[in-house]
């Protein structure tokens, strides 16, 4: 009888130790993430001590050497770039997803799907290199009078980068639809195209939206590949092939020249905070869209 109690005591001790370990790890991770957000937030908010919020968000003049910190060009370019790359990627990704899920024979799908999943893992700097050495001179040749740098090559590269993400998530969404939807539609006399367009895609919409937002998140946060092809001048772009800067490249461009505690440095942290907020917002939208799909 003494053996039993000793054994159960050891078990109880092991149990509480493990629980402590797991809780401790989870708390450590949360602590790190929260302190990161808090630090960036605190540094960013310090900007408003020297620079009015209106100037930061509405002025187009970014001349740090003369204490003018107007980040509107960066915000606009980020917005434009993300929109354009998503607009380029979504039609292709959606068509690819529909093809792989509904039209392709099994052999083709077995071959293509792993290939596409592989593309997600390509380091973005590779895309940047190809963009800089191949795409930019090509665009300069196609559009004489421009240098080839600008939002257009960046959007093209980003579209290629986020295409596998959107495609794989959308394909999973379409494939997980119940078979009866398709069967019912066909039984009612709809053609394959009508079924896909009017029944399946709307039904898979929450999943497809999740994929699009994931791709958007990746496009917004992309730094190096964009830095190599966008031209990096701190001004509003006048065309798609005009040199400009986005939030991420503005940070990577100016960080080495700033000192911790100066207004310039704080302005960069504020830009990082804006990026953080945008990604958090996108994640919230994904969760809301996911909830909707569960309900249906």
């Amino acid at each position: 009888m003494t053996n039993q109690t000793q054994w159960s005591r050891t078990q109880k001790r092991k149990e509480s130790l493990m629980r402590l370990l797991f809780t401790g790890s989870a708390s450590l991770v949360s602590l790190v993430i929260f302190s990161l957000i808090l630090f960036v937030g605190y540094q960013g908010v310090q900007t408003f001590r020297n620079i009015p919020a209106g100037e930061f968000f509405l002025s187009t003049d970014w001349t740090p050497s003369q204490n003018r910190f107007g980040a509107l060009p960066f915000l606009c370019s980020t917005f434009l770039l993300t929109l354009l790359s998503v607009a380029l990627a979504v039609p292709l990704a959606l068509s690819g997803a529909v093809f792989l899920a509904k039209i392709a024979p099994r052999a083709v799908r077995e071959m293509l799907r792993p290939a596409i999943d592989l593309f997600v893992g390509i380091p973005s700097v590779v895309y940047g290199l190809i963009g800089m050495t191949v795409l930019v001179p090509l665009l300069a040749k196609l559009f004489p009078g421009t240098v080839g740098y600008g939002i257009l090559p960046a959007a093209l590269i980003l579209a290629v980068m986020i295409l596998p993400t959107i495609l794989s998530v959308s394909e999973d969404a379409i494939r997980s639809l119940p078979q009866r939807l398709e069967e019912a539609s066909l039984a009612l006399g709809a053609t394959r195209w009508q079924t896909i367009r009017r029944v399946l895609i709307p039904a898979a919409a929450p999943g497809i939206l999740t994929g699009i937002i994931l791709g958007m998140g990746r496009a917004i946060g992309e730094t190096m590949a964009v830095y190599m092809v966008i031209g990096n001048s701190p001004q509003m772009p006048k065309s798609l092939l005009d040199s400009t800067t986005v939030l991420t490249t503005a940070i990577v461009k100016d960080m080495p020249s700033t000192f911790y505690g100066t207004a310039w440095n704080n302005a960069l942290y504020l830009m990082a905070l804006v990026l953080l907020f945008i990604s958090l917002l996108l994640i919230l939208i994904i969760r809301m869209a996911a909830k909707r799909s569960e309900l249906s």
Binding site: K14, W62, T63, P64, S65, Q66, P137, A140, G145, V147, G148, Y149, G231, N232, S233, P234, Q235, S243, K253, D254, P256, S257, F259
Partner: protein, 301 residues
């Protein structure tokens, strides 16, 4: 809690990784002691000291000066096999920042440390003169730019090559360097008299990238130091004066920078030996000119 075999394995793994870490720490320790020994032994002097030098020297900053420092590092490491010299870029501003907060032993800069660096205790060592040139793409066809014309181009007043006598009807694309670049600050001081660069144009991170961008972009204009100039770009005359050693010495060619290597406080040990090596007569007369820089003593004559 763990069985006997598991404990033994864990202990062995821990012992081996400790051994690995100890090996990593070795050179740094001997570097410090050799540094201290080198300092006291310096009074005794002699080549014997060089054989005992070991340690690591880190230098960062100007990408214009980098080719010279890298060559010096290679030569120095040949003579002192126990020393490791690491040279990185990042621009003059980054170099100054790194040496001020202790990240690098040496900060390379094309411009003198000013303003916020005055009270950081940086000691200056002038190692070379780096002549600069305004470069254009080979299709521009301009041979000479006056200071006013260059200033107008870089501030954005002139945007087409046809506004320069002898130029074709081609849009001017200005290639910039980042704000931390010493080359950029130098051109701003000498050519623009402190005015701001235009915001138009494209930006490249370092000297080599600047040259490549100007070489491959039609109608481009930029600035880089002479060692980077080759036949893929055209170096124009400045105020009618072409670059040469004589024109810099006589003061006719105004576009040059004094290359500084800063240390925090007086250097010691391997760092001091490295700096002494760069400023030695042998290195200055041979390598410096070989790499198309000019010796530091050129202007003090």
């Amino acid at each position: 809690m763990f069985k006997g075999k598991q404990i033994t394995t864990l202990l062995l793994a821990a012992a081996m990784s400790l051994g690995l870490l100890a090996g990593c720490g070795q050179s740094k320790d001997s570097g410090a002691s050799a540094g201290a020994g080198g300092n006291t032994g310096a009074d005794n002097g002699g080549a014997k000291q060089e054989q005992q030098l070991s340690g690591t020297v880190t230098a960062s900053g100007s990408t214009a000066l980098a080719p010279l420092v890298k060559q010096a590092a290679a030569d120095f490491m040949d003579k002192n096999p126990k020393v490791t010299v690491n040279v990185t870029g990042g621009g003059s501003g980054t170099g100054l920042k790194n040496v001020a907060d202790g990240t690098s032993d040496i900060g390379n800069s094309d411009v003198a440390a000013e303003g916020e660096f005055k009270d950081k205790g940086l000691v200056d060592h002038v190692v070379a003169i780096a002549p600069f040139a305004i470069i254009t793409n080979n299709d521009v066809g301009i041979d000479n730019l006056s200071k006013q014309q260059a200033a107008d181009i870089f501030t954005g007043k002139i945007t087409n090559w046809k506004d320069i006598p002898g130029g074709k009807d081609m849009k001017i694309t200005v290639v910039h360097r980042p704000a931390s670049s010493g080359s950029r600050r130098l051109v701003q001081q000498i050519v623009l008299d402190g005015k701001e660069f235009t915001k138009e144009g494209i930006e490249q991170a370092e000297s080599g990238a600047m040259k490549t961008a100007v070489a491959s972009t039609s109608g481009a204009v930029g600035y880089v130091d002479i060692p980077f100039v080759d036949q893929t770009v055209k170096a124009v005359k400045f105020d009618g004066v072409a670059f040469s050693k004589e024109t810099v010495r006589s003061g006719a060619y105004k576009l040059y920078g004094v290359e500084h290597m800063y240390t925090k406080g007086e250097p010691a040990g391997a760092v001091k030996a490295f700096l002494d090596f760069i400023m030695s007569k042998d290195f200055q007369e041979r390598r410096v000119e070989e790499l198309k820089f000019l010796p530091a003593s050129l202007l003090s004559k």
